[in-house]
Amino acid sequence: MATTVGVVVFPGTNCEHDAVLALEALGADARLLFHADASLAGLDAVILPGGFAHGDYLRPGAIARFSPVMEAVSSFARDGGPVVGICNGFQVLCEAHLLPGALQKNRGLTFLCEPALLRVDSTRCVLTQSATLGQLLDVPINHFSGSYTCDLETLRQLRDDERIVLRYVENPNGSVDDIAGICNEAGNVVGLMPHPERASSALLGSADGLVLLGSLLSASVA
């Protein structure tokens, strides 16, 4: 039976179809979930894709956090269900306190849309468990507020618990400690700014994103 992944659509989300296509290419059954729906019944994993949920008004993710689906996502995550936030989805997860810290405007105040080389620095989360430690992945970024920040105590915890799962080889946005992606304590909730769904075929310039999405699928029990 194929792994069933829900891809959440907020008003202003714009990467949901890319995510569905990439997941389907890996053999998953991917479905769009409307943000006003509050049920995640029958899903093995949930992805919060990129975009500009609720126009990014106030702060990216600040309003999306109150969408009905987010309560369901929180309890799904509490029960150990795999949840991955990509780009705007990462911002939503931070605002919803499912991940610590916050994403600030990029250093240099420029919108960045470019390839980024990532290094897998921990394999203890659902998105990297099938990757190799130190593996380099070519996955594009596309954001204005992608500079990860947190207090020193949180940073120490993230480091000590090996929860910094992906780092930029060359820091594009001023993220503290070159952070591109982190996970929660249990490793089932992951947020990352780069877009693995956009690196899902050699035709797109890189298929390295499939390493991450494939890992998510193997981690999600069908």
């Binding site: 106030l58 916050a102 207090d151």
Partner: protein, 89 residues
């Protein structure tokens, strides 16, 4: 006899980055000022301001409502802090 009166209050909620949090917007403005002939500006920090009209029983209740909405929505306490002024509208 107890009368319950609701008064309209005006709350000004200023949200700004906590000290020590990088502020690329403020820094960019700061760097632009000398070019415009503004000398002697020691530092610029950016922030935003929300004007909220709200009904409450008294000033204390209005303050507490404003503080609550600032904490739960207007500011992200991870990186921001808020300053609240409340007066009768």
């Amino acid at each position: 006899m107890v009368r319950s009166v609701v008064v309209r209050y005006h709350a000004r909620v200023e949200v700004r980055l906590r000290p020590g949090i990088a502020d690329p917007e403020g820094a960019t403005i700061e760097r632009a000022l000398p070019a415009l002939g503004f000398d002697g500006v020691a530092s610029v920090r950016s922030g935003r301001c929300f004007n909220v009209e709200l009904d409450a029983a008294d000033l204390e209740a209005a303050r507490s409502h404003a503080a609550d909405l600032a904490d739960r929505l207007l500011a992200n306490p991870v990186i921001e802090e808020s300053v609240i002024e409340v007066r009768e509208a």
